[in-house]
Amino acid sequence: MLFAAVSVVLMILDHRQQLAEPIQDALALAVYPIHAAVNLPFEFGEVVAEQATTRRALIEENARLKAQQAILEARLQRLDYLEREIIDLRALLQSSYQVTDSVLIAELMRVDLNPYSHLLQINKGTTSAVFVGQPVLDAKGIMGQIDEAGPLSSVVRLITDPSHAIPVQVNRNGIRGIAVGTGDLRSLELTNVPNNADIQEGDLLVSSGLGGRFPPGYPVGRVVSVDVDPGKPFARIKAVPAAELDRSRRVLLVRATNRQTEAAPPAAAGAAAR
């Protein structure tokens, strides 16, 4: 009975407020060795695979990366120019624009967490200045945000988690919306978009930066279906996440360098409500 009461209290604390956090942190640290131990063979295998790659494969990979680098750099040249222009334009409008975000690279740990929520564990924690709510990206787009930051590892909640929502806008015309996770790794849903909104299949959704949690302008997903039913007030819009949620091995943790966010409490729009 006593144990039941304690667990109920714990659950309420954990669910309602973040009051159980110290307990959770301590426990997370306690179970870290287990996570690390499970992860170890995979890491080891990777090291071996890396050691065993042939010279030729390396040369090929090198060439490919160089080509890619050249292409990216060419694009960057134009980007620099455009960025300059944006800053000037924003200055005219007297609003600030933040350009550079510093990033931290982390690696996924190969452990399975609760199969019914979309969580990942990464190998950086508060000792590397990771904080709760920090946006997580991969090379293709936004993956999610830090849900819990332990000292040595932290847990990422993916944008497809049913309890996650991210403010987005359509890249083509700036229509804003909120992309909510569906529980399916390959699908997001845009909620509360009126039937007559100009959103088409193939539109790119980027983060809008509203809510102050995610930096603006990073790709979130691509619209795959727009289902308009005149009998209903809102269109059903589905999108696939841009990030490779189930394949990425390395992730980027973004830290806005100059946070000009006196913005709304993050829970208002961008937060994962737990």
Binding site: F3, A4, V6, S7, V8, V9, L10, M11, L13, D14, H15, A20, I23, Q24, L27, A28, A30, V31, I34, H35, A37, V38, F42, R110, V111, D112, L113, N114, P115, Y116, S117, L119, Q121, D147, E148, V155, P162, S163, D246
Partner: protein, 162 residues
């Protein structure tokens, strides 16, 4: 350990560690939902075999450990496993003398009940998992029970856990 009545505590501890490792070991997505609840299985065994040592308190603790491990709602598994331990303690005299297949059936009922409890709790927090696969874990657990039972009994006899 000086007490002759109790020995081999480290075997029990090692079995929990093994269960935890199996719980977070990455599996292909297809099998992920069919992963049995190793911790629950091992808890049932120890509650049955050494009820004077492993009981509701231990169940609660290992459940809490699993919550931390899986980052689920803190206390969710703790509550479920405490109840599981309680039920097993109530039934242990009977389960012990059952033949293996009958034991497995009882274990199935216990596991299903645990799943139901977990489902209720996640339902309260508005994150109820959907789909029949949710119940799969209980059945794979049942299928694996004979193996788990044999293995742990061997361990218990070799290391003379009392």
């Amino acid at each position: 350990m000086t007490d002759p009545q109790r020995q081999g505590g480290w075997v029990i501890l090692a079995s929990w560690l093994l269960a935890y490792v199996l719980t977070v070991l990455p599996l292909p997505t297809l099998l992920e939902k069919a992963r049995p609840e190793w911790v629950a299985l091992i808890l049932i065994y120890w509650c049955m075999a050494v009820p004077q040592r492993v009981g509701v308190g231990v169940g609660w603790l290992v459940g809490l450990g699993q919550d931390a491990l899986q980052n689920s709602l803190l206390g969710q598994h703790a509550l479920a496993y405490a109840v599981l331990a309680y039920l097993t303690l109530k039934l242990h005299q009977r389960i012990r003398i059952f033949p293996l297949w009958q034991q497995a059936l009882t274990v199935m009922v216990l596991l299903l009940f645990t799943r139901l409890l977990l489902l209720l709790i996640s339902g309260f927090t508005g994150q109820a998992p959907s789909g029949w696969q949710y119940w799969l874990a209980a059945f794979t657990g049942t299928l694996l029970w004979p193996a788990v039972f044999m293995f742990l009994r061997q361990c218990r006899q070799i290391f003379n856990v009392r």
